[in-house]
Symmetry: C2
Subunit: 437 residues, 2 copies
């Protein structure tokens, strides 16, 4: 079926599913596009959902099945703080690829980065009863905001669009001086605008967290995916930039969903500043049974959430990290594949009348990676733009839902668009351009 | 090494680990006994921890490994509300073994019963801002109380020791009339005292929850393990007693850790009253994005906690349920094994001067199962009793830590004590009896 798709039919399906296209979350957009594809027999260029599009490394699947069969896992709870050998391997990974020395005790597997973020935000919000506002550096992962709402705490935001470098640090410092913050949380490489915080910015954030008693919660969901750099030679710089180098109050959450294509088994890493182990928070004891911030993380947070992490995925992640730590670069191949896709897809959008919203990284060109942000001169409002693009068989979400101050744009994810779909994307963008020139 | 073990050595290890034997949680007791076993080269009769002592059914391990290999799971997120075929099988299980008709949409896998309980308590506490007290029917699982603390809400309790039958319902109704409750939570068969709420009691609780707008949260961690009954003929009564038969506001949490010996991969079931789907709660929307209680459970609670359940364990649980639903009774064998152990172990304790604390079930003899409760006439305080028993190579936790009003007793778990250890248990109890007659 040629684009544009039938407008009546699309509107009818959206009505039936009770999806407001203009405000749709990732999940709602996903549900809508699934239904349209099925009912109309069409195929979308799907850019709404950050689903890894590459298979899980065989080494992980092999390790999981071997652990289930040979170690006879299953009936006994896994160690609550994680399988000790995995903790060691995470510690090695931190040293070899992030350039930080973190003891294995502070390297803790979680049930996906989602759990790591939830536990970190919950921890921060229980440190001081009079400081319960989380500062988001925006845009970011929409569900972190949902976590804050679920916890019944407050949030505020500062946008990267007009705050980078010294301006970012000044704005954060000014906000911290109000005294009600408990944490700063951000994603870098950034979902969705793909800027990468540099060492000076991380040092500034780290210093402010130390001085004001905040947690620095770093979402490294796209670890290593700034392909302008080569982060993948173990033990040699450059290292993945991390706030752990710059603060005594940091938690770095590393998803294995994207860089290792391992979303479905829900296994991630939380790496805590060792100094947190003996750092007191006055009100924490009543919530978590200890006033030491680091010590609260496992028994006070992760344990009451899910007891432990499922055990076989811990062996899967361990096998991946062992291979990567030993120099097997194939584990990081997804970074390069997504980078190739982003370069080409951005070109197609730009050639057909679109522009990037977040269009530079401290004056340098952006890296090519998992996401980019687009707008079109004919549309002031991203909600109108996505409503129109849906008729051209292209899905995405609005920047507004990611927390951005920019209302005109969309977040586009490259993960599900392999090279074989580029001709289709190009044809649809040309038709869109012809109709909106 | 003969009992009693060296008192100085034990005290030294407890001091070094900073464990107060008299107040030790399950995890702390576990840590202490591990250390004593290692340092002194001794072996305990370990009754502190409800670790399933039997292997995970082969059908589950086989299904997990097949799903990982053949379905190529791993890189894509599992469906957020659970794998559809698993949801169907849970619905069938509810019909065949609980005698309730629940649509698959209301049958939701969780990352262990721990997550199911946390999400249910969180949901209840977000329904009305002026009703944030959870009523615990005690004793119970200590970590549920920790979950309430983490959420920053209140709790109150009513003890089964002096409240069963009409007295229980009257006490709950009186408490509900204060207007600040959001949920009632209990475990049946009960951890630790192994009483089982009957249909009249469940009907009373269900009615109160409906009339006062509370959630009824039923922890069925020991599903089917009241071996006085035969619950295991699919589709034929008697059925596992459940509050779902008696309320429009129930959530039944069924662990697969104990009855299916499947703790390590963290996969449980939450079964919601279908009427919750369209039941409004005035303040829920701000926390969970919808005011419909049932609809909030997946997108508003489970999703921001861990995104989805790991996928391969969902196939493992599905295989177990398929077999059980088709009449394979071997899946329920752990109930009978734990029952045999409990019968024998209770006898050994009773013959050596101990008595049961919770010693009857509405005037009938207690079932034999995963836990029982003990006290000794020489000790008024369970903390003193456990401190002494530790020198005789027997570990347990105090009833006090389970929320019981009874201060004199201990909770004893049978799961790790196979028949081959009975002679050792008997010898140690005899020595204890000789020293404390």
């Amino acid at each position: 079926m040629n684009v544009p798709f039938d407008r009546e039919a699309l509107a009818g399906i959206a009505r039936e599913l009770d999806v407001d296209v203009r405000r749709a979350s990732i999940r709602d957009m996903d549900r809508l596009v699934n239904a349209v594809e099925e009912r109309l027999g069409v195929r979308y260029i799907r850019m709404e959902f950050g689903i890894p599009g590459l298979p899980t490394p065989e080494v992980a699947i092999e390790a999981e099945t071997r652990a289930l069969r040979e170690r006879k896992l299953g009936h006994i709870y896994a160690p609550f703080a994680g399988v000790p050998a995995l903790k060691q391997e995470i510690s090695r990974f931190a040293r070899l690829f992030m350039g930080v020395d973190i003891p294995a005790d502070c390297c803790i597997p979680t049930v996906g980065a989602m759990q790591g973020c939830f536990a970190s935000i919950a921890l921060a919000s229980r440190m001081r009863d009079d400081a319960r506002t989380v500062l988001f550096l925006e845009p970011g992962f929409p569900v972190n905001k949902r976590q804050v709402k679920l916890l019944g705490i407050e949030s505020d935001s500062i946008d990267f669009y007009d705050h980078r470098g010294p301006a970012l640090i000044e704005a954060i410092e000014r906000r911290a001086q109000q005294g009600d913050l408990c944490a700063i949380i951000w994603s870098s490489p950034n979902n969705p605008c793909w800027i990468v915080l540099n060492e000076e910015e991380l040092a500034g954030i780290g210093r402010i967290c130390d001085e004001h008693g905040l947690l620095a919660i770093e979402d490294l969901a796209y670890f290593g995916m700034d392909t302008r750099q080569n982060y993948f030679v173990p033990g040699e710089p450059p290292y993945q930039p991390t706030v752990l180098r710059h603060t005594r109050r940091g938690i770095s959450i590393i998803s294995s969903s994207k860089i290792f294509s391992y979303a479905g088994q829900r296994i991630a890493m939380a790496i805590l500043s060792p100094e947190l182990w003996d750092t007191d928070a006055p009100d924490l004891e009543g919530y978590c049974g200890t006033e030491k911030i680091g010590r609260a993380f496992v028994p006070g947070l992760l344990y009451p959430l899910t007891a432990c992490c499922p055990e076989s995925p811990q062996y899967g992640l361990m096998a991946i990290l062992q291979a990567a730590n030993s120099g097997d670069r194939s584990l990081f191949e997804p970074a390069f594949e997504y980078s190739r896709r982003a370069r080409e897809m951005k070109r197609l959008f730009l050639e057909n009348g679109f522009r990037l919203v977040y269009d530079n990284d401290l004056g340098e060109p952006l890296a090519d990676g998992f996401y980019f942000t687009i707008a079109h001169p004919a549309y002031d409002d991203g909600a109108d733009l996505i409503a129109e693009l849906l008729h051209y068989g292209i899905s995405a979400i609005t920047l507004e839902t990611t927390g951005s101050v920019r209302r005109e744009g969309l977040r586009a994810c490259v993960s599900l668009t392999g090279q074989e779909l580029f001709p289709l994307l190009e044809e649809r963008l040309r038709r869109f351009a012809a109709a909106h020139s």
